[in-house]
Amino acid sequence: MHRACPLNDLARGDAIRLDTSPPIAVFHTEEGELFAIDDTCTHQDASLADGWVEGCEVECPLHASKFDLRTGAVDSPPAKLPVRVHEVAVIDGDIMVIESQEAPNLPPGLTVGGHV
């Protein structure tokens, strides 16, 4: 389990990137929901925490692939593979992330430790 930050520190509409391996992005949507997915786009090396959230979808800041925050599925190309989704809980006012046990879909040239 990873501790992200106090819920009060993450305003609606904001996202943070956790320094995990691989990094995880936590989103607090305008509607007040919390989601955690792998931060690295499966297309190339971009941070989805830097992307644009609309409803339950994040758009990658580089080439505009869209991922469903609830399922990690690709809603719009160029990405071909989904991102992992992680469980989020708020415990004692802190956002906690329970990392998925699946293997991540990292983009070509990247490994869990960084560049190949």
Partner: protein, 396 residues
């Protein structure tokens, strides 16, 4: 519509096919492409693929399980089009009659006549081009790149990280100024120079020295001589429209289209690098050679072709990116409309700036260098401003 034919099986062509199916077109879908490969992504050809960090498989544009229920005629070149009959003639004599046609034949690298026929002179447009160039990028070699456009600059970045000695030769005084304006063009030029790339400005080739079919040196109009092991010509691209010569279509620098991709002939649209759409802001036809435009145009054009009511949405500001020396450049809008540029965050020296281009008080373009988060916000703001601006207030 029973048969929809798409000519050009790359980004715009695939995007058009996807859009047609997404909009419920259930008829016969034929996709003709002269390259043997299934649709692949070009941007990495000057970046991670050239560097060896991506494989050809990684370039595939289609997802593994994607099936558009299309007849793919790959490795087939279209030789002509009868625009009235909407019949496409292929090299092997096959004729494809269609009810609707999407022209998506893209562009080819422009060549320099004075450098034709040498074995160590390259251009970069296709997977094969990139493979051939990659095989020559050996440490210590002297690479001369003619033209400091984005492809030249990206190859300069890739090659210098592989240990080559790179010189960029630019005919204009300030590289990238057509796309970024002079001030920011200078900033990107500074990035290249700070990473050890030699940049020669305001000069072109005067004469070529060669031996055994290889270029060995270039004499420039400024009197300088450059020794070369390898030359890349990166002077832009020309639209692939020769096959449309007798089609009845209006073709100038690209297939002329309205702001929804419709050509002068009913039932025929064009999208991507081969098309010059009418740009309502600039009040002129413009060929926009960016990845994102190819996908956006394909969608809009297919919508127009399938007879959907033209969407009222104003076109989004043009967007492109470039990766150079580990810096992610992102640009949206039109630098030509601006009268000043302001750095809103970061700095030119640190190569992490966010610069906004203004015309009077209106933001008209934005450039980010390693500023994806801020850039995304500005790009959205620009798109919203463009969508709400009445066309009449827009400068010609």
């Amino acid at each position: 519509m029973e048969t929809l034919a798409i000519v050009g099986a790359s980004l715009a062509g695939l995007s058009a096919a996807r859009a047609a199916r997404a909009k419920g077109f259930a008829g016969r879908l034929v996709i003709v492409g002269d390259e043997a490969e299934r649709p692949y992504d070009r941007p990495p050809l000057s970046k991670d693929f050239l560097l060896g960090r991506m494989t050809a498989g990684d370039l595939a544009l289609e997802a593994g399980n994607e099936d558009l229920q299309a007849e793919w005629l790959l490795g087939h070149r279209a030789l002509g089009l009868d625009g009235e009959a909407k019949a496409i003639m292929l090299e092997d004599g096959t004729i494809i009659a269609a009810d609707g046609i999407v022209i998506a034949t893209g562009a080819s690298a422009r060549r320099l006549p004075s450098l034709e026929g040498f074995t160590n002179v390259h251009t970069l447009r296709t997977l094969d081009d990139s493979r051939q160039l990659a095989a020559e990028l050996l440490p210590g070699r002297r690479l001369v790149i003619i033209g400091a456009g984005f492809i030249g600059a990206e190859v300069a970045s890739t090659a210098s990280s592989l240990g080559l000695e790179v010189t960029l030769v630019n005919a204009e005084p300030v590289p990238f100024s057509a796309a970024l304006g002079a001030e920011m063009g200078e900033v990107v030029a500074g990035l290249q120079v700070s990473r050890g790339v030699a940049l020669l400005r305001d000069t072109t080739i005067d004469s070529v020295e060669s031996a055994g079919g290889r270029v060995t040196g270039l004499n420039l109009t400024n009197g300088q001589r450059l020794a070369a092991d390898l030359v890349l010509v990166g002077i832009g691209a020309v639209p692939n429209t020769a096959w449309l010569s007798f089609s009845g279509l209006d073709v100038k620098n690209g297939v002329l289209c309205d702001a929804a991709g419709r050509t002068n002939l009913p039932g025929i649209v064009a999208a991507g690098d081969c098309a010059a759409w009418f740009d309502e802001r600039a009040e002129t036809h413009r060929r926009v050679e960016h990845w994102t435009s190819a996908t956006e145009q394909a969608e809009i054009a297919v919508e127009a072709l399938l007879g959907a009511a033209p969407s009222a949405a104003k076109p989004k500001p043009h967007y492109f990116w470039s990766d150079q020396h580990g810096v992610k450049l992102q640009f949206a809008g039109n630098a030509g409309e601006a009268d000043r540029v302001e750095i809103e965050a970061g700095s030119a020296q640190a190569h992490d700036l966010l610069a906004v281009y203004y015309r009077a008080s209106e933001p008209v373009a934005v450039l980010g260098m390693n500023q994806p988060r801020l850039f995304v916000k500005w790009r959205r703001a620009l798109a919203q401003a463009a969508a709400s601006a009445p066309t009449s207030s827009v400068p010609a």
